[in-house]
């Protein structure tokens, strides 16, 4: 509990200062920066409205499905590239090129292809979240300690045994680091696609609607909802990571 106190005091102090300074118009036009009190009032109003839940559920759904697709595709393709050298040789330049491309520019294309519904947003989230898992799976499976490989060889291990007993476990820390990054990327992709699409439902759509209407207090509420969601997602993944990679190896070595 002691660890929470200093940040909470900092937050309270900041909110009080903001509440006092904002109405004076001294720093920012009050229309653009509502006071914490106004935001809280808007929050009360918005949390009672049925449409917030509907939009929230849609966004969570888009993130979750996009994330799952990204992880599965990343694991499968990353593994294929790691174990089939020819495939890596042929595909690698294209994958790097696709990775370098800011996937956001593909959103209009996805909307044309998949329509204004959830599908285009799921595809965007998946396309953005795919790379960390893919790259870290490929790199992790390929970067096996030479001595450990020699040990397996000396035991006359088959290729399959080397894969299951050595490559997969030693890749896990890196793969999981990738999965964690992917989770936040999926969220970014989903919200960005909703913002860009500007139609249909979702938290991203709500932000764009409210900001066009200059209802900044509502915009802040959505941002807070998203921030809490991101925090829960990230810490949840962190916990899961500690469970999966329980031997406490540095998860951030190499890769993405």
């Amino acid at each position: 509990m002691g660890d929470f106190l200093p940040p909470l005091l900092f937050l309270a102090g900041g909110l009080i200062a903001w509440q006092l300074i904002a109405p004076t118009g001294w720093l920012v036009n009050p229309l653009l920066l509502p006071t914490p009190g106004a935001i809280a009032k808007a929050g009360w109003e918005l949390l009672g409205a049925a449409y917030l839940g509907e939009n929230f559920v849609r966004t969570v759904y888009v993130i979750a499905v996009g994330f799952v697709i990204a992880v599965l595709a990343g694991l499968v393709l990353g593994t294929l590239m790691a174990v089939v050298p020819l495939l890596r040789l042929v595909m690698y330049p294209y994958i790097i090129a696709f990775q370098a491309l800011p996937k956001i520019v593909l959103v209009p294309l996805f909307i044309v292809l998949f329509g204004f519904g959830a599908a285009a947003k799921i595809v965007t989230a998946a396309a953005i979240a795919f790379f960390p898992v893919f790259m870290n799976t490929m790199v992790g499976l390929s970067l096996v300690d030479a001595d450990q490989r020699r040990l397996m060889e000396s035991l006359t291990a088959s290729r399959w045994q080397v894969f299951t007993k050595l490559q997969v476990p030693s890749a896990l820390p890196l793969i999981f680091a990738g999965v964690k990054v992917s989770a936040t990327y999926a969220m970014t992709g989903a919200l960005a696609a909703e913002l860009i699409a500007g139609t249909d439902i979702g938290l991203g759509r709500l932000i764009s609607t409210f900001s066009f209407a200059l209802q900044m207090d509502f915009v802040f509420i959505i941002v807070i909802v998203i921030a809490v969601m991101a925090y829960l997602l990230f810490t949840g993944m962190e916990r899961l990571g500690e469970k999966v990679v329980f031997w406490g190896e540095d998860q951030e070595r190499g890769g993405l």
Binding site: Q148, R150, L151, S154, L155, A157, L166, W247
Partner: protein, 250 residues
């Protein structure tokens, strides 16, 4: 049991070819303790890896019980300078790795693994993870791992080279006890002359550039040996002889 004829090993490098081993001939008897001694670069580890089938030779041949030996085999157990334990496995799971890979009966070997861990002084650490153990204890676990599946020949590549003097001496004594009890053929690579004399029946003295055998020294010290043997003139003579062979060759 193992015969080596005209063995050479070349490594291509940026500025030409490195002759790691040149024309090595050696016969290794079953049940003996044989050490390979020499400075870095004399090819002793390379030779051990070729015998173990982990490296391919350039010329010549190695035969194991008359058969051409060019690949890893169940009969040959390797141990390296680093413990090479898998950090995601407990100590006993690490020891059982060969059992799993070789498809042996896990239940039966579980008991054996426990016995061996007890023998090497790791009782109570079966369920610990490698990072919780000191370097010496990790190497004891690695030793247990090679003993558990009972290979005929142990190929030990500077197994205690990275440990401190005291731990190394303790492990040498344990290794000797294990050898006395099992009479396995042990091939032991080291750059420590005293250690080689203390442990071995015969010492293969090697020199670098190109890696070759200068002489095979018969140790001829009585067994069983204890630490005390290190204070005898016969021990000192043997150490002196090996040192001279290495010194003269330079």
């Amino acid at each position: 049991m193992i015969s080596i004829r005209g063995l050479s090993k070349l490594f291509p490098t940026q500025d030409g070819t490195l002759v790691a081993l040149r024309d090595v001939n050696l016969d290794i008897q079953e049940g003996g303790f044989l050490s390979f001694v020499g400075p870095s670069g004399c090819g002793k580890s390379t030779l051990l890896n070729i015998i173990g089938g982990l490296l391919q030779r350039t010329e010549g041949e190695v035969r194991l019980r008359g058969e051409v030996q060019d690949r890893p085999r169940r009969e040959l157990g390797m141990m390296f300078q680093a413990p090479v334990l898998f950090p995601w496995r407990t100590i006993v799971e690490n020891v059982l790795l060969p059992v799993e890979v070789l498809g042996l009966d896990r239940a039966e070997y579980q008991r054996k693994a426990m016995e061996i861990l007890n023998l090497v002084g790791l009782k109570g650490f079966e369920r610990a993870y490698p990072r919780q153990l000191s370097g010496g204890m990790q190497q004891r676990a690695a030793l247990s791992r090679v003993l558990v599946y009972d290979p005929d020949v142990l190929l030990l590549d500077e197994p205690f080279g990275s440990l401190d003097e005291f731990t190394r001496e303790a492990l040498n004594l344990e290794l000797m006890n294990i050898w006395s009890a099992t009479r396995k053929t042990i091939l032991f690579v080291t750059h420590n002359i005293g250690e080689a004399v203390f442990l071995s029946d015969r010492i293969v003295v090697m020199t670098p550039r190109p890696g070759r055998i200068v002489k095979v020294v018969d140790v001829n010290l009585p067994r069983p040996r204890t630490r005390d043997i290190m204070h005898t003139p016969a021990y000192a003579d043997r150490v002196f002889e090996v040192r001279e062979l290495l010194g003269v060759a330079h």
